[in-house]
Amino acid sequence: MTEKLKRRRIRPRSVLIHAVLLLGTVTMLLPFLWMLLASFKTYQEVMHIPIIWLPSSWNLDNYVEVLGNMHFGRYFFNTLVVTFLTTAIQLTFCALTAYGFSRLRFPGRDAIFFGFICLLMVPTQMLIVPRYIMMVKFHWLDSYAALIIPHFISIYGTFLLRQYFMALPRDLEDAAKIDGCGYIQIFLQVLMPLMTNACLALVVYTVVFNWNDLLWPLLVLNSEKLRTLAIGIASMRDEHTVARHLMMTAGVISTFPLILVFAFGQKKLIESMALSGIKG
């Protein structure tokens, strides 16, 4: 009897919940769908009133134009390389630094770390001009160095990994010390293997940040052959004649790679981000 009641009570409620969630899902996903459809349309179709929903022909003309003539193929490659390198380097140094802050004792450790935390709140705007000048002085303007090196260490990343390190059990470490392992060995062979979740969380964050970064690359890059996708997109709206259909194509090229990665790797990736929030 209670079971029947339970089922009847749950149904309308869950229908309502599904309705709300689905409405939200549509709002979340509609722009991507619309962007994708537009990337196959011609300029006339895109500007037409009333709205044309489906393209008349599904050809890749826009993609050829954007990837080739408008150099987005090159931009894609650049963004890929920069994101990969920055993430790899940042992960390395954040892990090293976080390990130092969490598992090793030395005078001034907590004071220095507190300094890190304070600096976390500094808005980027206070930093871009001085950093820009540094790039000028080091002759790194218009090079990958300007994009990668200032980001080789991230305070947020260090903070995040430190939390995870601190949560690891000490016994393994103690055992390793007794065995005579040096700190590097402990770091590499004992602790890091336990940090995959943490590293994944940081990797996700860093990849998303760097892939989509606009302001800094916009300032320090100049040559067309070094530009990233974000710059490409931002530059498109500068021209007098806004080629909307091509802008949408560029949008697809810039967003769908990450979207696809997340859609397919979602379980592991999203979960790791979730836990990072808790630890944070």
Binding site: P123, M134, I155, G251, G277
Partner: protein, 319 residues
């Protein structure tokens, strides 16, 4: 007592600290410094020094093209009298207070809905998360188009439902709500995923007990859910506020669309402090002046964060 690692670790912390560093301790300290050295150097070079430089720069009239003159607090005085700057900060506050509380609240509601035993939870989780990973510049131009009066599907839908068209992108009164909307749209997924994880930690027994007491869903939400995940909510609020004070990409695409004509009511209604600083630095080339505005922005963020920390005693429950 032999000075083995075990023994030292066994001692209580305060006693450990007062011990002088012996050979082992010194070795550990050396390694400690070694491990944090590159990172700390990086932070000093790329964050601390620029910060100090910024403070100094804010008191000069430097424009990168001239030799700087020390102005004392003249830049700050000018800032307080500058109507555009006042508007910029107004917009920034609107943007931050519009985005952070509403965004976190919506994420909380969504996360709560999703934590009930409904099917397709993984699907929803991904769907809501996708906007977070997409390039703000790109999705801004899509939304700009979707909200276009003539060629946008939102107005087409409104028209089909019998409503009047709304000039989302060209009404100075609506441009800020649009920016807030896009910003919330992007952040919901991230917040929601984090809250979901937190919600899953709430023991079902709490809810069962509440049900027995006769509490409905909404009441349970306010009396059980919110207090228990309040640390996470607090964390998200801080992060969301800080991020919205720092937000650039969306603002750039919207204000910058009118940057051919960098003034006018639309630009004035959408220009936040962060964009204003960028404009003053790299378009007007008044770096000293811009730095002063950045310092003020920083101070505001500090104060707000501090206030939030103080207020947390009122509503955040830690166990």
């Amino acid at each position: 007592m032999k000075e083995t690692t075990e023994a030292i670790l066994a001692e209580p912390a305060h006693k450990r600290r007062r011990r002088k560093l012996n050979a082992m301790g010194r070795r550990e300290a050396m390694w400690g410094y070694l491990f944090i050295a590159p990172g700390t150097l990086g932070v000093i070079v790329f964050t601390l020094i620029p910060l100090l430089f910024s403070f100094v720069m804010s008191m000069t009239d430097w424009s990168m093209l001239n030799t700087p003159h020390f102005l004392g607090l003249a830049n700050y005085r000018e800032l307080f009298q500058d109507k555009t700057v006042r508007r910029e900060f107004q917009n920034t506050f609107l943007y931050a207070f519009g985005t952070a509380p509403i965004g976190v609240f919506i994420s909380l509601v969504l996360a709560t809905l999703m934590s009930t035993k409904i099917r397709g939870r993984s699907f929803y989780r991904v769907a809501y998360f996708l906007p977070y990973v997409s390039m703000p510049a790109a999705i801004t131009i899509v939304w700009q188009w979707m909200l276009n009066s003539d060629t946008g599907i939102v107005n087409a839908a409104l028209g089909a439902l019998g409503f009047n068209k709304v000039a989302f992108m060209s009404d100075p009164k609506l441009i800020m709500p649009v920016m807030i909307f896009i910003s919330i749209w992007q952040m919901i997924g991230y917040n929601m995923v984090i809250l979901l994880a937190g919600l899953q930690n709430i023991p079902q027994t709490y809810f069962d007990a509440a049900k027995v007491d006769g509490a409905g869903g909404v009441k349970q939400f306010f009396t059980i859910t919110i207090p228990i995940v309040s640390p996470t909510i607090f964390f998200l609020m801080i992060i969301s506020f800080i991020n919205s004070f720092k937000a650039f990409d969306i603002v750039y695409m919207i204000v910058g669309a009118h940057a051919i004509t960098s003034g006018g009511p639309l630009a004035n209604a959408s220009r936040t402090a962060v964009y204003g600083i960028y404009e003053k630095s790299f378009i007007e080339l008044r770096m000293g002046y811009a730095a002063a505005e950045a310092v003020i922005l920083f101070l505001i963020i500090l104060v707000l964060t501090f206030v939030q920390f103080k207020l947390q005693n009122r509503w955040v429950h830690y166990d």
